[in-house]
């Protein structure tokens, strides 16, 4: 029995963290945030060189052959360092093709995704679905359909669409299809940018009208649920990373900022606020590890734990983010202060793939309550 990380897993996190801190200092993050691009070609190339773009792609297709726990560990680092890019969405597209594609589809797409030459993303949520179900990411509400090698439907909140060469699209029966957008099918694949909250992770609407598509033959509602669950754990890990960064920023600021002739961290009101922020977040690291591990080993309670991490860690990260703004005083409320970069990261992680409310109801349903 070992409830903890292997040396390789610890090394993976350290290496990624070292790379992100060296190659992507806060002022570079600020530039990307202000530009609203959400993509940095040099950074993506660096991730590819470290093998992170092929993290969950099997070795036979040129990837590292690692699992959801390693993906979550990388998402934690991405959240803590605030790096932009489609690491999670891209990895989920890889998981979808590997799990649901036929051998020729895997051979066709996975090597390019593994090297990072092609960026993948997912188009799942639908505008009308939220009216029918509690959650636009609930496959039961999707209306997108395939017909004779084409797909038609209306998606929204699609991340990183501007740079994606491959989009995994959710279908009405819970199945999945792959669309490869190109210049020539501008009429059948229409992209409408949305003004997203996290400018390092831009989102768009996607109108598909008879767009060329290849269904993934082994995709079922159940297999799609597992891809979504991996996404929930990845988002929770990202939010955990963002929260730990916000706590560190707050502690550093409180030690530095002086009022009434002493560092404000010496006032118990401030010290206790930081201690509470830490106590809400730090113990959940073990919940995250368990949830990722449960998905990797196909444990019976995997779906429920994915919902638990998403609901809990992302909700608490947003609470921590609000405290971090308050602790920074007027400065914290400005566009200029770096706190907002992680505040918005936490907001994205909270809402993407279903809010805490949605997943708490799922926790209750899966318990048979």
């Amino acid at each position: 029995m070992h409830f903890g990380l292997s040396e390789e897993q610890e090394l993976l996190q350290e290496t990624f963290r070292g790379f992100a801190q060296a190659e992507f200092p806060p002022q570079r993050l600020r530039e990307v945030f202000d530009a609203g691009e959400g993509h940095d070609p040099g950074l993506w190339k660096g991730l590819a060189e470290m093998g992170l773009t092929g993290l969950v792609v099997p070795e036979a297709h040129g990837g590292a052959g690692l699992e959801i726990l390693e993906l979550a560990l990388c998402c934690e680092v991405a959240g803590a360092t605030g790096i932009p890019g489609a690491l999670l969405e891209h990895s989920l597209a890889c998981l979808a093709i590997d799990a649901c594609g036929d051998p020729s589809q895997r051979e066709r797409w996975l090597p390019g995704l593994a090297t990072g030459d092609v960026i993948g993303t997912l188009a799942l949520a639908e505008p009308d679905a939220e009216c029918e179900t509690a959650d636009p990411w609930d496959p039961d509400g999707w209306q997108t359909r395939t017909s004779n090698g084409t797909v038609s439907g209306f998606k929204q909140y699609v991340p990183h669409l501007d740079h994606a060469g491959l989009v995994v699209v959710g279908l009405a029966d819970g199945g999945l299809a792959v669309v490869e957008p190109s210049e020539s099918d501008a009429a059948s694949v229409r992209v409408e940018p949305q003004d997203g909250i996290d400018r390092t992770r831009p989102i768009s609407k996607l109108r598909l009208q008879g767009a060329a598509a290849q269904p993934l033959p082994n995709a079922t509602a159940e297999s799609t649920r597992r891809i979504l669950d991996a996404g929930l754990v990845g988002l929770a890990a990202d939010a955990f990373g963002a929260a730990t960064r916000l706590i560190q920023l707050s502690a550093d600021y409180a030690k530095d900022r002086k009022q009434f002739g002493q560092p404000i961290a010496q006032f118990q009101a401030v010290k206790h606020q930081i201690a509470r922020m830490g106590t809400e977040i730090e113990p959940t690291r073990a919940l995250l590890w368990y949830a990722a591990h449960a998905l990797d080993r196909g444990l019976e309670d995997a779906g429920r734990h994915a919902a638990m991490t998403k609901a809990h860690v992302t909700a608490k990260s947003v609470e921590v983010a609000r405290d971090a703004v308050e602790l920074h005083g007027g400065l914290g409320f400005t566009w200029e202060c770096d706190v907002q970069l992680w505040f918005k990261r936490a907001m994205f992680d909270r809402s993407f793939l279903g809010t805490p409310e949605v997943h708490r109801e799922r926790i209750a349903t899966l318990a048979g309550w």
Partner: protein, 406 residues
């Protein structure tokens, strides 16, 4: 991550389960009073090496090599069977490990075996009326009359919040023995018999109505010169070890899961608008959120346990120092829902039976008692505001408050 136990551990679990098939007792033994049944079964469990595992045989323990995972298996299996395992009483849970760490050979032989058999019952004398969170300011004094061999400590002063003193034979606690030393260095850890003319125990009624804790007055009370644990002036360090054991007791995740399951049952059986409250969306949201806390507590404890088994505690110092606060906060959130579910019966006071059950009572008034009681652990063993200081200062490197008397 590998949550599979190896073959040796699984075999050990199977042995423990086979042994636990003997609980509850059967035949003539089943007609003994429950306390005697528990003592009988526990003595068999010690004999088998399952209970008080780390304490050597010659001191009345199980005599096994320390093994964090086997400890965990035993706790889990005894918990599942509802069988009497290692006691949560202050003597076996707090004093015995402290004596094993700091006590003299004579003290271990004299006190540990009867403490584990619960023939000597102990209470803890730390807090004083003027010394709560600032425990090191304590004033209750002990002066040595005669020499180190045959002399006696003469004790004067008062202790307070002394749980179970009314049922205890001895008190372990902190007393000021070095009047000229700085406050932390003037304290010694003494063992004091309660059945003597110089000691008076007065019960303190709790706001729940219960009578678990007391004031203890010392008026020229006496104990042997050999009843000091550790050196003179070393009591503060000795007591840190005891407090560590106390905080681990409060953070026991198995107890929290039992309470959570009980509250889910309460939500199933309570009707709201003609249907079970557990179908109410608001209740479902809150129960789900609290289970996330409960599950975090469980997994975080498992992580710490696993790290301890590999000698890697340093990797999880932060969550370790958060255990007490996290679990007492979670328990209060849980009891808050229970209190809401009992509805207007929140007007009723706990019954005698509720109070005797030590926060295990059922029925509406039992929940009222449990809800009130859930405040207690947040105060005992280092109150929440002190925990927050520790986390802020030691966990996040924030500066200490200004403390002029330091």
């Amino acid at each position: 991550m590998d949550l599979q136990y190896n073959q040796e551990e699984e075999q050990f679990r199977a042995e423990v389960r086979a042994f636990l098939a003997g609980w509850p007792l059967r035949g003539e033994e089943a007609s003994l009073p429950i306390a005697e049944q528990e003592t009988l079964f526990r003595s068999q469990a010690i004999e088998r090496g399952y209970v008080y595992r780390d304490i050597p045989r010659e001191y009345g323990g199980g005599g096994q090599e320390p093994d964090v995972l086997k400890d965990h298996i035993v706790r889990a299996e005894f918990g599942r069977a509802g069988a009497p395992g290692s006691s949560f009483l202050q003597g076996p849970a707090m004093l015995a490990p402290t004596l094993m760490e700091f006590g003299s050979e004579a003290q271990r032989r004299r006190f540990v075996p009867p403490t584990l058999r619960e023939e000597i019952r102990w209470c803890q004398g730390y807090s004083e009326p003027g010394s709560g969170s600032d425990l090191a300011s304590l004033q209750c004094s002990a002066a040595l009359e005669g020499d180190d061999e045959s002399g006696e400590w003469v004790i004067n002063g008062q202790k307070i919040w002394t749980s179970n003193a009314q049922n205890s034979h001895w008190l372990f606690g902190l007393f000021r023995t070095e009047t000229d030393a700085p406050k932390h260095k003037g304290i010694s850890y003494l063992l004091v018999p309660l059945d003597q003319p110089g000691v008076e125990v007065r019960p303190l009624k709790q706001m729940t109505g219960g009578l678990d804790f007391n004031e203890v007055f010392f008026d020229d009370a006496r104990t042997g010169a050999d009843c000091i644990v550790g050196e003179r002036g070393q009591g503060w360090q000795v007591s840190r070890a005891t407090l560590k054991h106390e905080r681990n007791l409060i953070a026991n995740p198995n107890l929290m899961r039992d309470h959570f399951d009980a509250v889910v049952d309460l939500a199933r059986t309570t009707l709201r608008n003609g249907r079970p409250a557990i179908l109410d969306p608001g209740i479902r949201q809150r129960l789900s959120e609290i289970e996330c806390y409960v599950r975090t507590n469980e997994t975080s404890n498992l992580r710490q346990l696993s790290a301890a088994a590999r000698g890697e505690e340093l990797k999880c110092m932060l969550p370790m120092m958060m255990n007490k606060l996290y679990s007492t906060d979670t328990m209060q959130r849980l009891m808050e829902i229970a209190y809401e579910l009992v509805g207007a019966d929140g007007l009723l006071a706990p019954s005698e039976a509720d109070l005797a059950g030590y926060a295990k009572g059922e029925g509406p008034t039992g929940w009222v008692e449990q809800w009130m009681f859930s405040l207690g652990p947040a105060i005992a063993g280092g109150a929440t505001n002190i925990q927050l200081n520790i986390i802020g200062e030691r966990g996040y490197g924030l500066p200490r408050d200004q403390r002029p008397t330091r």
